[in-house]
Amino acid sequence: MVQAGELDRAYLATVESIFDDGEPDLRLFPMLRWRFGAYEGVDDALALLRAHGLIAIRRTGSLKKVSRHSYYLLETGRTRADELLDDAPELSWYRDRAQLAATVAGSTPGPQLKVRQKEQAEYMDAQLGTYIPSIVDRAAELLRCLQGVS
């Protein structure tokens, strides 16, 4: 997005810090390539959040055929999240990366986000049921290229 001019070049420093901290290795959460794209089972995590009244889940459609899931962070959840960050600052990484992901996604609808994902060859060429390969080498090369241009 920096290359396309959609984000400020200052974000290159963020990318560089991600590489410097070893996040591509230490914070790797591989996801499976499944029928509709990247997949991870989040039902248990959501149930945990729901059971403690931190989020609300709304389903559109019927029990037999759910057309859409919507997840809402409740006021209680936001409060508990702030408390957690105060108690364990080391968990702020998740907040920061969630904010960064939201920045990258912007107001782009989900289907279009999927299209952007499928533009990555590693994503599209991954076999069903296998973990999607990392794009860290290409990202590092692109960072070096953009930094050289700057």
């Binding site: 959501l46 945990l48 403690h52």
Partner: protein, 556 residues
Amino acid sequence: MSKTNQSNGWIESVASRAAVTADEVAAVLREWRIDPSASYPAPKHLHLTHIRFSGTRPEEVTPNPGSFEFSWEGLAPGIWALASEINSAGKTSVLEIVMWALRGDPKNLAADVRKWLQRVDVGFELNGTAHRVAYAVADGRPFGELQRMTDSGVETAVFAFETADEFEEQMSSFMVGELGLHTLRSWNSTNEEPIEHGWNALTGALYITRRQSSSLLGELVMAGLAGRLLQVFLGVPWTQTVYNARAARESAKARSARARAKGADPTRRKALAEKLSELQRERDEASVGTGSLVSDTAAAFARMNAANHRYSDAQDLVRRRTSELAVAKLAVREFKQELIDRSETALAERFFQGLHPTLCPRCDTHIDEQRRSREDTHHECSVCRSHVDITVAMSIEDDEEGNDDPLSLSELRAQLGGAEAAVERAQAAVDEALGARDVAREAATTARAEVEEAEAGHGVIAKVQELNVRIARLEGAIGEIDSVSESIADSVAEADTAYNVLSAAYHEADARLKDARGDLFDDLNRLATQIVDDHVELPRDDHRNSPSVSGGVDHR
């Protein structure tokens, strides 16, 4: 004429003249085929008996084209004349045809007459025996045979011929043998080679042509040939020996000169020796300082090879250390990952264990306080009513129980510290290996430069080697000259001895010839005066000159 010449004492006389042994004289005379011709030969007789020939003149020949035929029978010893009222009637042709038949060589027969002829038949009596040479002529080429009449009157073939060369060769051999003649040898000083005069040359004494010539005998005016021919036909003893010895002497003289010419050319040898000295000086100057060049180059090569090996080993060490560093970094990463995972999990567990569920995540049923209190009193999960024993850890460091991993977080951190220290050590090892590699590379580069510098000196060695090759060649050439000189010297000595003996043989034979000839030429001179009108003078003592003709009278 004296008739007392004999061959006794011939070898000894020659040996005495040459101041050599009789064996040496005999060997030389045998090698050069010089035989004593001391005896008077028996007289031989040859005269014509008939002359016949025929042919056809082409139409374009005038006058008298068409066939012709000539026949002259009944010839016998005596003087005969062939005359005509007009010139160019063919008188000369008749005689030339006769000579062709006797000699086997048409020689001076006009080419057109030769082509007209179709048949020739000449009869002659040789030492009382009738002979006949008859042949057909086709386009100038003779093919026929020589026949001899036996005592019983039967003609038998002596030899046949089908070409001009066969005719001449066989006729020459026959006549020389039947007349007891020998070939005469003379020396051609122009070509420096001996010439043998056989029957063809001897027939010059049979036929005196009308061509203007200062010589009455022989076809050529050369070196007293006619006089020699006269003596041959007269059977003067020692004639053949004199002329053969003379020709052999000249041949030996030429052989000696050639041998000397082949001999060591002092000028050439001197030039080669000077060139050799020059090259040796040049080689010695170039060789200065090259004594250790080869060994120095070999040592430089050895150092370069060792430096290359060390550089290669240093590169291998860098690769190993780099690989070890990567392994150490991987271990650090794994420890960090586990540490993050376990600490965050512990934080999350502590967080959620501190919360109370408020509703069922499946059906959204509210969980009241009563159900919630049973967790503390009855250890019953407020969500699913399963037995539960929740202990809220005060800190993640206290989370020891229920943890299947044998390592605690503190222990894990200690492990991580150790792994990070290992990375530092591995990095230091890599840096050290890189430094050593750079040093080894520099050393290999320096060693290579030393080798190149040493190899540059090999140009001098190559030059010295080239000079040695040239020196060896010159030494070989000089050695060959010296070797040849020895054999040449032997050849010269041998030729000189032959010349000495042959010269002595010539002088001895000549003395005997003169003694045998006596007043022969005086007798001939008187005889000639009686026959011809003009005065014919024969030199009394110089047998080299031909009888001369004063006046312009034809003699046939």
